[in-house]
């Protein structure tokens, strides 16, 4: 148990703010999808906020991060503008990708967020290569690569981890284990002891942490990043958490018992951090205010995003590639 009395209250107050903002963003996005404003599928990260906050909170602005289809939290935590993100979900001008990507392709290179990905596990080789590129150029920055538990059963997981070890690259691999590969329990589909054991078999130091305890994630990420920055090569963190919502916002997730979800709600990482902060002496009103402000911020952003123009249709033909006419032989 973390010692509440020695807690850096200011720092973890900020962490709580971030976690509330992530949850409020997801809830605003789910509500907007019910209202028809979010055009495509979204994969909410409700219940998993401690991983985003604990990992990205330890990255520097110039460090890089690659995420997954379930990437809103990671992206916000890396410093992206939630209004641009919400516009992207709504397919509007001014979205992070000008409305060309949507939820599964949010990227903000300006804050070192090198992309969510619609292909499970595809971010692992790219993150590894980004670190390879940084190392070739003598950079001191590191790359964080966050993926789900399902991704460890794809080949690029093995190829990427082996590569990062062979070239001693500055990558923090984070397996954000929410228990599910879409609608199937990952443990039923996975041989052996999982992500950490696989990493260790390749010679990559790996640690399992309670992914709903942001203090634990924060401490583990901080230590891992310090080692990586010191030139010791890749590290893997296996964070066990739980996906409170369905796989997508419209998945009722009837494939799991209600009691299981209820028990996990009680284990909510936000509640747990609030309890620790309360114990450390932060007053209830201050805690409540953090929540309320986050909800207000994201609800206002959803309204603002809904009032934004659609992209100029001509943009469908831009940024394909420099050469050739994208309209050739078309309609």
């Amino acid at each position: 148990m973390n010692d509440a009395h020695n807690l850096d209250r200011e720092r973890f107050g900020a962490v709580l703010t971030l976690m509330h903002r992530i949850r409020a963003f997801e809830e605003a996005a789910i509500a907007a999808q019910k209202g028809g404003l979010v055009l495509g599928a979204i994969h909410p990260s409700i219940g998993q906020e401690a991983v985003a906050a604990g990992v990205c909170g330890n990255l520097q602005a110039a460090d890089l991060m690659l995420s997954t289809h379930r990437g809103h939290g990671h992206t916000l935590a890396k410093g992206a503008d939630p209004l641009a993100m919400m516009r992207e979900l709504f397919g509007r001008a001014g979205g992070t990708c000008g409305g060309k990507g949507g939820s599964m392709h949010i990227a903000d290179f300006g804050v070192g967020m090198l992309g969510a990905n619609g292909v499970v596990g595809a971010n692992i080789p790219i993150a590894t290569g980004a670190a390879h590129g940084l190392k070739l150029q003598g950079s001191r920055q590191i790359v964080a690569c966050i993926f789900g538990d399902g991704a460890i059963n794809r080949g690029p997981f093995l190829e990427g981890l082996n590569w990062a070890r062979v070239f001693d690259l500055p990558v923090l691999f984070v397996c954000e284990d929410n228990g599910f590969s879409a609608t199937t329990r990952t443990r039923d589909m996975t041989g052996g002891a999982g992500a950490a054991a696989r990493a260790q078999s390749i010679g990559i130091p790996a640690e399992e942490v309670d992914g709903n305890d942001v203090l634990a994630v924060d401490a583990a990420a901080r230590a891992a990043i310090a080692a990586i920055r010191a030139g010791k090569g890749p590290v893997l963190l296996h964070c066990r958490t739980y996906r409170i919502t369905g796989h997508t916002a419209v998945d009722p997730a009837t494939y799991r018992p209600a009691e299981e979800v209820e028990a996990q709600r009680a284990n909510c990482p936000i509640h747990r951090l609030r309890a620790v902060l309360a114990l450390s002496g932060m007053d209830r009103a201050a805690l409540q205010q953090i929540h309320d402000r986050a909800v207000q911020e994201m609800n206002a952003i959803a309204v603002q995003a809904s009032e934004t123009d659609w992209p100029d249709p001509a943009a469908a033909f831009s940024d394909v590639q420099d050469m050739g006419d994208p309209r050739e032989r078309a309609y």
Partner: protein, 328 residues
Amino acid sequence: MATETYLNAGRRAVIEEMQRDDAVWALGEDLGRGGVFGQYKGLQEMFGVDRIADTPISEACIMGAAVGAAMTGTRPIVEMRFSDFALCAVDELVNQAAKARFMFGGQMRVPMVVREPIGMWRSSAAQHSQSLEAWYTHIPGLVVVAPATPADNLGLLKSAIRNDDPVVYLEHKNLWALEGEVPEAEHLVPLGKADIARAGDAVTIVTWSGMRHGCLRAAQTLAGQGIESEVIDLRTLWPWDRDTVFASVRRTGRLLVVQEAVSVSGFGAEIAASVAEALHHDLKAPVRRLGAPRIPIAYAPALEDRARVGDQAIIDAVLGLVAPCPAD
């Protein structure tokens, strides 16, 4: 001018571009030993293990890592060894490299060259002989290049390395030893420009890669019979040089497209369809295509040859095109 092989011309292109630009580096299997065909011979000694990087046998990661390294400011040259093995890295090329610039709203580019040796030589069978250029011309975001001569391998590879978008660069394995005149001075061939390999007015033959040479041999034979064929080597398949092809077909009124790849759904179909759509009134005969039958490439020469478009097939196709139509 100096005489150089197709293989060494490509090697020279890599050396010159790596000397010109520190951001350029190469990654792939066995590059330290020169690569499987010797395209990288001596380069690790010249540039070190960081810039001529030996990698694990991890095609998906070779391609994916190049995407990440291109996003962080370097210009990787990816060596896939055989184009057949690049199929282990299709997601990384097609879903990631080709799409990132567009999908992320133009925030960055992915400058990388993917070298994928293609084509038949002798008895390499079904998994080491294919020509899969049409897979890539179909993908928005990719440039596709297929050089046929030493000079073009030098000039096109240099241009490909300087291109800011991903380029699939298809060298033909059967041409490695081909010798030709290569300029000694800096030589850049622009991407997207065809080469009129032989001028003529009776028929336009459009081809690329290894088939350039079969078409030129056939044209030589046909010239002996008084039939002058114009042979156009596309060199770049996307974007292909529509202006040069159309200007030629307007003059000759006849088009034959010759490719080594399987004819069905091949890139030749794109040329044939484009000409048929746009130049219907200029055509004196229906457009024709020649390509491989839809069979995997076999090992035994007698079987393997069934997958080849031979010189005689080209000659016969041209004779068919120039013969007066019985209905006339």
